[in-house]
Subunit: 144 residues, 2 copies
DNA sequence: AAAAAGATGCAACCGAGTTGCATCTTTATG
DNA sequence: CATAAAGATGCAACTCGGTTGCATCTTTTT
């Protein structure tokens, strides 16, 4: 995605495209996996943690990113629309590898919807499978 | 559940039934909703936080409880089998109310299973819907 | 050009989760 | 039964992801 496209994308969401915001957007766009705040701190050493945090909060508010918490409770951020359809109640399953502690998107799997009880309203939804990814399993020799 | 039943239940899972462990078990059994560590601290003022933590870790290891993280990333503990079938990959949806910040079990909803990519192994799974519960929605007058 | 609004960095804080260590309790052993 | 070994507990301290107050810098408005 070209820098100019990012600018347009942010503007269409009502967000002023500052340098920092473009950096955060690109960091998310360039990584196929959902990133945590700590991940982004490493990727964006020029930015302060609090600035990254505020950009992410803004992005979430404007539905530019959506979030989910992995097996340890750490928030991960992912661009809306990065793997097919999106919005806050967008649609795919995440996998958290308990060995390498990374999160993946299972893009093949669409999220099965559930019907809520009377009076409940849904804002977003997350479906996370915890286990071990293929790479880690292979590395350990498929024993066990 | 009688005290003696709790003892048997723990022993059958290979856990020595100490006073603290029975307290934690009962605290979980007496509350229909999944409890966080902080919740349990309030319920069990006689116990130290670290002791509660270690009991919960032991329980999880022995499949006495399972966990999931709510919308804020806070770990919640629930007795296995407390709402129908169980094990680590047990089966119901959780709802996190962003207004009252409480978690509920949606016992009517069975968890739709997903098939993982080749080589991935599943240990547990969580499906959390974020939104507003019926009580909070009513309290606010169903405006919006 | 000056004032107002917004964005950023720094430092400090918060709270859930976790750990080291000394003490107390229970279990195993002579 | 006495003692040693193993296990459970409480206390205090620490980690780290997340969050906030505030001063400064930048952009926009007037």
């Amino acid at each position: 995605m070209h820098s100019q496209d990012v600018v347009l994308r942010l503007e269409e969401k009502g967000i002023k495209p500052t340098a920092n915001r473009i950096l955060v957007y690109n960091a998310l766009a360039e990584n196929e996996r959902p990133q945590s705040l700590s991940d982004l701190e490493e990727l964006l050493v020029v930015m302060d943690k609090s600035s990254i945090f505020r950009v992410l909060a803004l992005f979430e508010e404007a539905d530019v990113v959506h979030t989910f918490t992995d097996g340890r409770g750490i928030i991960h951020y992912e661009l809306c629309g990065s793997h097919g359809a999106c919005s806050h109640d967008d649609g795919h399953v995440h996998f958290y590898c308990e060995t390498c502690r990374q999160s993946f998107c299972l893009t093949e799997e669409q999220l099965p919807a559930v019907s809520l009880p009377e009076g409940y309203t849904q804002h977003s939804l997350s479906y996370v499978v915890k286990g071990e990814c293929a790479k880690c399993r292979k590395r350990r020799g498929i024993s066990e």
